[in-house]
C-alpha cells in the first residue's frame, strides 16, 4: 500500500543550527501517528515543512505519492484542501469571532452559505465542549484552553483526510485532554482520516496513536506500535517516557555549566 504521507531524507537548518537532518518517516492511510521528542528537536518545523510553510533545504515530501517539495503554491493548494492543521499557538484569526473562525473553511473553501456554515460551526463547537455563546466571542475573550479547542474545531470543519495536531492537548485540563484525544481518535476511526499528532504527554500518545515515532538530533531514532512504547529497549525512548534527567538525552546546557 502506498503511504499517505512519505517524508524522506529531509534536511533543514536555520543558519548554523541543523534542525532536521536526514529525517524519514512514512504514515499509512488511516493511521494515527504520534511524534514525540524533546522541546526544540524540530517537531513543529517538520510539520511546517510538510505544509509548505517552511522550505526544506533538501529531501522529499510526498502526499499520496505526489512530490510537494519545490512545487509552486498553486499546485500545493490542491493538497491543502484535504489537510487540517492545529497550530501549537492555536493561531485563531483575532479579527473574526469564534464561530467565524470555525466556519472559515466552510465559507471560503466549501462555499457554504453563511447561515448554514454558522449552524455547522456551532455543532462543531459543541463537540469540543463549547456552547453557543462562546461562538459570538472574539478569540481574545476566551481562555488558552478554549482557543485550543476552537482551533481543533476549525481544523476538522472541512473534514480533511490528513490532519496535523501540534500539541493539541497542551494547556488543557485532564477532562478536556480526554475529550480531545477521543475526538482525534474518532477522526481517524470514523472518518478514516490519517493523523499526525505531536505531543509531550505520554498518556495522549498511548490513547491517540497507532504508531509512535521519536525524534532526536534531527531524525527519527525509534518508531513502533504505540502498545510497544513502554516495553521498548531504546534508551532514548525510555528516558523520555519516564522523564529521567539522566540518560543519553543531554540538556544543551545545565545550571552547573552556566555557573
Amino acid at each position: 500500500m502506498e503511504p499517505k504521507l512519505s517524508v524522506s531524507n529531509l534536511y533543514k537548518s536555520f543558519g548554523e543550527k541543523q534542525v532536521l537532518s536526514n529525517l524519514s518517516i512514512d504514515v499509512m492511510p488511516g493511521e494515527s501517528m504520534v511524534i514525540i521528542g524533546g522541546s526544540g528537536t524540530g517537531k513543529s518545523v517538520l510539520i511546517k515543512c510538510i505544509l509548505g510553510l517552511i522550505t526544506p533545504d533538501s529531501g522529499s515530501i510526498k502526499i499520496d505519492g505526489h512530490e510537494l517539495v519545490g512545487q509552486p503554491m498553486a499546485k500545493r493548494q490542491k493538497f491543502l484542501k484535504n489537510i487540517g492543521m492545529v497550530f501549537q499557538g492555536s493561531a485563531l484569526f483575532d479579527s473574526l469571532t469564534v464561530w467565524e473562525n470555525v466556519a472559515f473553511g466552510l465559507m471560503y473553501e466549501k462555499k457554504m452559505a453563511r447561515e448554514q456554515a454558522k449552524e455547522k460551526a456551532l455543532t462543531l463547537l459543541a463537540t469540543v465542549g463549547l456552547d453557543k455563546r462562546v461562538g459570538e466571542l472574539f478569540p481574545s475573550e476566551i481562555s488558552g484552553g478554549m482557543k485550543r479547542r476552537v482551533a481543533l474545531a476549525r481544523a476538522i470543519s472541512t473534514e480533511p483526510n490528513l490532519l496535523f495536531f501540534d500539541e493539541p492537548t497542551a494547556g488543557l485540563d485532564p477532562i478536556f485532554c480526554g475529550v480531545i484525544n477521543t475526538l482525534i481518535r474518532d477522526c481517524v476511526k470514523k472518518l478514516g482520516a490519517t493523523a499526525v499528532t505531536i505531543t509531550h504527554d505520554m498518556h495522549s500518545a498511548r490513547t491517540v496513536g497507532d504508531e509512535v515515532a521519536m525524534i532526536h538530533d534531527g531524525h527519527i531514532i525509534w518508531k513502533g506500535k504505540a502498545s510497544k512504547v513502554d516495553s521498548c529497549k531504546n534508551p532514548y525512548v525510555q528516558q523520555f517516557i519516564n522523564g529521567h534527567a539522566d540518560g543519553p538525552i543531554k540538556l544543551e546546557t545545565t545550571a552547573e555549566e552556566v555557573a
Partner: protein
C-alpha cells in the same frame, strides 16, 4: 576601504530589498486579479482607508487652505497682488498639498495599521493558518489592501481639494475682507482640469505606495512584538519618504512640456 565595503553593502541590500518588494507586489497584484475574490475584505478596506480617514484628511486640508490664504496675504499685500491669493490657494492645494498631505496623513494612519495588523498575524502564525485553510494570503490579505489604497486615495484627495479651497475662502472672506463672489470667480478662472487630475494621479500612486509598504513590511515581520513594532516604523517611514520622492518625480513628468 571599510567605507567602500560599507557603501557596497548598503547598495546591495537596497537592490535586494527592491527585488523582493517587486516580486511581492507582482505576486499580490497578479494573484489578486484572479478569482476567488474576497469582496468583504475589499469593502472593509474601502471603509478603513477611505471613509475613516475623512476626518484626518479633512482637518488637514482645512487648516492648510486657511494658512495658505493667510500667509500669501501677508506676502502678496506687500506688492499689491492680493488678487492672486485665490489662485495660489487652489493651485497649491490641488496640485501639491492636497495629495501630499493626504498621502502623509494616511501613511501614518493606514500604513502603520496595515503593518501592525498583518505583522501580528504573521508572528502569531495566523498567516500560516490562512494557508492551511487553503486561502491564499496574497488574495485575502494583501491584494484587497493594495487595490483599496489605489482607489481610495484619489477620492480622499477630491475631498481634500474641496475642503482646502473652502478653508482659503473662509479666511479670505471673513478675515481678509474679500468679496465672496470675486473670490470664487478668481478661484475657478485660471483653474485647469489638468491641475486637478494631476493631483488625483499622484494620489493613486501614493495610495499604492502606502498599502504596499504597510503590507510588505507587515508580511515580512519577524520575531514578536518588537518585530511588529519595527515593521510599523519601517512602513510609515518608507512610505513617507517614497511619497515625497515620487511627488517630485511625478511633478516633473506631469508638468514638463
Amino acid at each position: 576601504m571599510i567605507l567602500v565595503t560599507q557603501v557596497g553593502r548598503v547598495f546591495l541590500k537596497f537592490l535586494e530589498t527592491t527585488g523582493r518588494l517587486s516580486l511581492f507586489l507582482k505576486r499580490a497584484i497578479l494573484q489578486g486579479l484572479r478569482p476567488p475574490y474576497y469582496f468583504k475584505q475589499l469593502l472593509r478596506q474601502f471603509l478603513d482607508i477611505g471613509y475613516l480617514s475623512l476626518p484626518v484628511v479633512g482637518l488637514t486640508a482645512l487648516f492648510t487652505g486657511m494658512v495658505l490664504a493667510l500667509q500669501s496675504y501677508t506676502g502678496f499685500s506687500r506688492f499689491n497682488a492680493e488678487g492672486a491669493i485665490a489662485n495660489v490657494v487652489v493651485l497649491s492645494i490641488t496640485r501639491e498639498l492636497g495629495p501630499v498631505l493626504a498621502g502623509l496623513m494616511v501613511a501614518g494612519r493606514i500604513g502603520a495599521a496595515m503593518a501592525a495588523e498583518i505583522g501580528t498575524m504573521r508572528v502569531t502564525e495566523q498567516v500560516d493558518a490562512l494557508t492551511t485553510l487553503s486561502t491564499n494570503p496574497m488574495k485575502y490579505l494583501i491584494a484587497p489592501r493594495i487595490f483599496a489604497g489605489i482607489l481610495m486615495l484619489p477620492l480622499l484627495v477630491i475631498v481634500a481639494d474641496i475642503v482646502g479651497v473652502f478653508g482659503g475662502y473662509l479666511v479670505s472672506t471673513y478675515r481678509l475682507g474679500f468679496n465672496p463672489a470675486t473670490y470664487i470667480k478668481q478661484t475657478t478662472e485660471f483653474l485647469e482640469a489638468q491641475d486637478v487630475y494631476s493631483g488625483l494621479i499622484k494620489a493613486g500612486v501614493f495610495g499604492f505606495i502606502i498599502s504596499s509598504m504597510g503590507c510588505y513590511h507587515g508580511y515580512n515581520s519577524k520575531g514578536g512584538a518588537q518585530g511588529v513594532g519595527q515593521a510599523t516604523t519601517k512602513a510609515v517611514v518608507s512610505a513617507s519618504i517614497l511619497i515625497l520622492v515620487t511627488n517630485y518625480i511625478l511633478t516633473a513628468l506631469l508638468f514638463e512640456r
